[in-house]
Amino acid sequence: MTSNVVDFEDILNNGFSDANTSVRSGVRARWERKNDAEGCSSSSDSRKPPLGGLSDRFIPNRAAMDMEKCSASIVSSAEESIGDRTDSEFSEAEEDTINSVASDLSEYKSSLLGIDDSKSRILSFAEKAPAPKGDTVNNLQVLYSASTSSRKNKSSTKLVSRHIPSAPTRILDAPDLLDDYYLNLLSWSDTNVLAVALSQTVYLWNAVTGQIDELCNVESEGPDAHISSVSWIQEGGGHLAVGTSWGKTMLWDVRAQKQLRKMDGHTDRVGALSWNRHILSSGGRDNLIINHDVRIAEHKTATLSSHTQEVCGLAWSPDGLTLASGANDNKLCLWDAAASSSSRPRFELTDHQAAVKALAWSPHERNLLATGGGTADRCIKFWNTQSGAMLNSIDTGSQVCALQWNPHEKEILSSHGFARNQLCLWKYPTMAKVKELEGTLLVSCTWLRVPMVPLSFLPLRMKLFVSGMFLLHQANLTLENVVLRMSLEEPRAKSSLVPCTFARCLWNSNINNSSYA
């Protein structure tokens, strides 16, 4: 009898001395008793977490707990051990302990689960939902392949078989190019003419003939006036839209070198332009997006207001049904083509944490849009524009200035500003890096810098990527680079653009440039 009592007190003492033993239970846990039975009840052993040493702490998992069963087994085992003794051995204190065990448990249960299970019934409808037909899982696979296959691809070094040179083939001198993230100062037409806005002047560089033309000059508008955006019409290369710092959008006939019309509507600079056949959308610092029908006198067909800060990115989808807009308020909006001035965007996507400027619609898949965020965000995100679902997001580590899809391969090129000023070619959808052209190339020439200007694309036989650095991606699938050079310390006379334009890159002698000469 006495030995029994001592034993029980021992158990209690052990229980209190051991930090891991539940004080409330007063009865040792099963794993402890098991340890005892196996003769390995040293104090260090008993301090081990019950989860087989997987981690250093025990994280309870509510969903996986069957609380009812737990409480039942603990209470019944407590009663069992008590049942071994005669009534006289019960002190009142012990009885209190046991009672409190039961009440504690039910309290625990209700606090853990929120709802006391005993007060609720779990019901399900007897007729179950019809089983899905066919194999439906594969459709989602593509969403998941991104992360898993990029993981796999890290090990395989060979991503592309073609040669992608890392040196520029051509440097264009671009004095006075404004270094402003919010402006879109480059546009490449489908007739292979590049339009560049250098402060107050728009120059056209013909990539085939090498001819340089000065299209327009806004010096007459005052010393602070400058061109804030340029955009070629989708087809033909005959017309160029020019956005200005004083809110006007000009339309130029390039062949006649003549201004066709001037469209108003904005009260501040027009930093983004995008064409959809005869509709020209312009985005301004006044937070507005205006759709102009350039054929008619009353050109303003819609004023879209949803953004609360400067609009800096605009892109019509290839099918002409959706307009994507990004702004400094970190919002990405998707507008139906039929949107009127009173409409709200189809989606307002707020996932970016910084200004959204880089927008690129996939030429391969309908409704696939890639967007890039500013310095605070640094992510390239992919969207299904029908559902508004974000398909993927990758952190690039740098401000994303522009994105450009490769029309031949499932690849996307991104150009970056701060912090690393790199140019990066990604495989889609794995988002494995195919090629990264880092600042080293640019730093080696001290007067070179990646200006924060966007890419635009040449969809002809000669495939071009354009950024602050241009990459020529030819049909034979080699990638050549042309760098648009900014001379920062010494602004040259504007005419110097001409002789400097075709200065061939000295470090790149292995590429045949005869077609450009």
Binding site: N61, R62, A63, A64, M65, D66, G114, I115, K119, S120, R121, I122, L123, S124, F125, A126, E127, K128, A129, P130, A131, P132, K133, G134, D135, T136, V137, N139, L140, Q141, L143, Y144, R344, R346, F347, Q386, S387, G388, A389, M390, N392, S393
Partner: protein
């Protein structure tokens, strides 16, 4: 549907909650690929495009569950709704979407008694009337628009959940479990079920929304991947 500038009544709240459940269930079924994407149609709701099923069998099932749900909601008997996704072959529960419903007492309860036209409802609302005064200023001011904005956030989270939920790598089916008060009147077609908890699960809490009468919390639990991979 209640006009967007009016105060939400109990009946309106029940409608909102069950409409939300319908949209949420459909979104989950679509986003998780449980039914073929072609069987869904786009519908504009809550300022979003919500995909809803066109499968007749599924619609019948959902509407019978929803109508029962509505009557329980009106009686204040619903505690939560769980959508359990389990593998058809393995029978294992892989995902569990849970929506906790708690009844907040709002204004206008007395007005609704007559409209709801249900005896049990009446007694329920009479009890509520006693508490109304305390909460009248706080609740009941919310417009449908505000509620829709909150719902929009949840649906968006469901849509975005594909980014963290593991791929359902086998054909799956789903079941709806409704937790009710023990006092609830249960029609014959309804049977008690086990809670279908998931072993080794991860839990992600989603947003919640409130109407003048109901507060709905949502969360998803899913099966942790077997191996630890980085």
């Amino acid at each position: 549907m209640v006009a967007s500038d009016t105060v939400i009544t109990l009946k309106g709240s029940v409608e909102i909650v069950s409409e939300f459940f319908f949209a949420a269930i459909n979104s989950i079924l679509y986003q998780r690929g449980i039914y073929q994407p072609e069987t869904f149609k786009r519908e504009s709701k809550y300022g979003l495009t919500v995909l809803t099923t066109t499968d007749q069998g599924l619609l019948t099932y959902l509407s019978s569950v929803m109508s029962q749900m509505e009557s329980w909601l009106t009686d204040g008997d619903v505690q939560r709704l769980a959508l359990v996704v389990s593998g058809i072959d393995s029978g294992e529960t892989l995902e569990r979407w849970q929506f906790n419903v708690s009844v907040d007492n709002g204004t206008d309860g007395s007005v609704e008694i007559s409209r709801a036209g249900n005896d049990e409802n009446k007694s329920h609302n009479v009890i509520k009337d006693n508490i109304i005064d305390n909460k009248a200023t706080k609740m009941g001011k919310k417009t449908v628009k505000e509620v829709h904005d909150e719902i929009q956030a949840i649906i968006r989270q469901i849509t975005a959940s594909v980014t963290f939920l593991p791929l359902l790598n086998e054909p799956c089916s789903f079941d709806l479990l409704i937790y009710t008060n023990t006092s609830a009147v249960v029609p014959k077609k309804w049977a008690d079920s086990d809670p279908c908890y998931i072993m080794n699960s991860q839990e992600v809490k989603l947003r919640s929304f409130t109407t003048s009468f109901h507060k709905v919390d949502s969360m998803v639990t899913y099966k942790e991947k077997d191996e630890w991979e980085l």
